[in-house]
């Protein structure tokens, strides 16, 4: 089983889809979720009033709690983004005061939590189909789908190579002057690329055999339903109120 490790994010990609299937969010149209969450994130990014930023964070946390995505999973993914959030908040705290530092932490956390719920509450390929139906160019959406597929394969490959390296006593090198350590890491990455390309041809033939013709086609492309529209309307209302109050506070 693949264990993807992206700068501290410890996650199992197939678990993401498990959570999506378990959550009521998984039943919504991906387009509605993308548009709703993006509108909310953009509105939150515009907020500077402490009360409104805290309100936005509370809305994100409530959204996470209601989503039925396990909180441990969300907390683990949030911890991956936390160092950069803390550096930024601490810097603002030092130069602009405690209130501004708190605003920065709450604002970035609110956006990150909302995005993590979107990612965890949507099946990966549904998300990509949603992007395609939102007119993301064919080249980008097809590459997204293929890249994600290959990431899962290559992640497994990398994990096996890590195990093999550890079995031979390699412990990650000592620093930039450790030429042997860096050579091992370079050759491991090089091997990932070589194996990747070796798989590309097979992957392409398999896709062709299943009817792939340079663009993703859906077996069914249902229109937006009332629940999807309600989801978007809910986020649009909240975002409008938050931005309206912010503008009122500024004026």
């Amino acid at each position: 089983m693949i264990v993807a490790h992206v700068r501290g994010h410890h996650t199992r990609p197939e678990e993401l889809d498990e959570h999506a299937r378990a959550s009521w969010l998984g039943a919504l149209d991906a387009r509605a979720k993308i548009v709703g969450v993006v509108v909310f994130v953009v509105a939150t990014a515009l907020l500077t009033s402490t009360g409104l930023v805290i309100a936005s964070l509370l809305i994100s946390v409530c959204f996470a709690a209601m989503s039925q995505v396990p909180y441990r999973h969300l907390a683990r993914m949030y911890l991956g983004a936390l160092p950069f959030i803390l550096i930024a908040s601490f810097s603002v705290f030092l130069f602009s005061g405690a209130e501004r530092g708190l605003d920065m932490w709450a604002r970035t956390s609110s956006c990150v939590v909302a995005l993590l719920v979107l990612a965890s509450g949507t099946e990966t390929f549904e998300l990509f189909h949603g992007l395609r139906r939102l007119r993301v160019p064919r080249l980008v959406s097809t590459l997204l789908m293929l890249t994600y597929r290959y990431i899962l394969l290559l992640g497994d490959e990398l994990e096996r190579m890590r195990t093999a390296r550890r079995a031979r006593g390699f412990r990650g090198g000592r620093g930039l002057l450790d030429s042997r350590g860096l050579r091992v890491i370079s050759y491991t990455a090089g091997m990932v690329f070589v194996r990747a390309v070796a798989r590309a041809e097979d992957g392409y033939e398999a896709l062709r055999a299943r009817g792939f013709r340079s663009d993703m086609r859906l077996m069914r492309a249902p229109p937006l339903r009332a629940a999807d529209l309600a989801f978007m309307a809910w986020f649009a209302c909240i975002s409008t109120v938050l931005v309206g109050l912010q503008l009122g506070a500024v004026v």
Binding site: H9, V92, S110, A119, L139, G155, G175
Partner: protein, 330 residues
Amino acid sequence: MHIPDGLMDPLVAGLGWAEFAVVAALAIYLSGRRVRDKDLPRIAVLCAGVFVAQMLNFPVGGGTTGHLIGGALLAIMVGPVVAIVGMTVVLLVQALMFGDGGLTAFGLNAVNMAVIAPLIGWGVYSLLKPLLSRGSAPAGKAFTAGEAIAIGAGAWASVFVAAAACAAELAVSYAVSGGAYGIAATVSVPAMLAYHAVIGVGEAIITVGIAAYVLMVSPEMFKARDAEVATPPSIRGAFSSRVAQATAAIIVAFALALPLYFVYSSEGADGLEKTMDDAAVPEGEPLLASPFSYGETYFAALFAGILGFVAVALAGLGLMKVLGAREKAG
């Protein structure tokens, strides 16, 4: 270097989105002309390779680690235009699937890591390779020492310039928002530049190592190493040479960073001028009046930057030629 949502001033984030939209539209158009359906899995698999290679942390020393960005590596393997699309896809997967980098900040993240990093990496590599690498690789080696230096320099520059752009975006956000967004320049600039100057060394070593391994085992993967960017017939004449394209790549990266200067530029004196003012030392008449200035508008500053870049590049080229001639004579 992945900027989360809510960190950047909305004006700066919007500027990043606008720049990214223009460059991405152009890159997708040019890639669409060049990439055949048959190539899609190969490009996707290289993007996945970059994503997975980013998981490999390398030791920096003192218990800290860094990780590959891969922009220069991908650009050297598939060319800069396809690399822009490929790195955009990698960043999209990171943002959408792992919450790594925000949506409002995606434009800036993409400008830094999917546009500036590949363009600078490929540009520096393409300009240095003909100067440093002559003849064929020695037996048993993937490339000459000169080409290895060109690859390493491209990889280092890609990380350093992308980090500098990120630091500038953070600093400008802080300044224009009056401290509500971003990170103060006194923290962001030295921290980002110092850390990424070291990370860049790791990126350079690992990139050269990967290139050496891949070239020995599967040289066909470096199809774009000697290829030129596919250009539409209308601009083919002006940008047909590799050096012209590399120069254009570096100038595009500069043009993308320039708007930040106009969002926040100070009318105040620089360090020397301030010192002279404090000491009441008058500025004398110049012996030679330059016909050029740095410019008050975006296009004037862009023109001045291009002029300066070309002048420095020509001076460097001349110096290399002179040194080369002396070496041969010796």
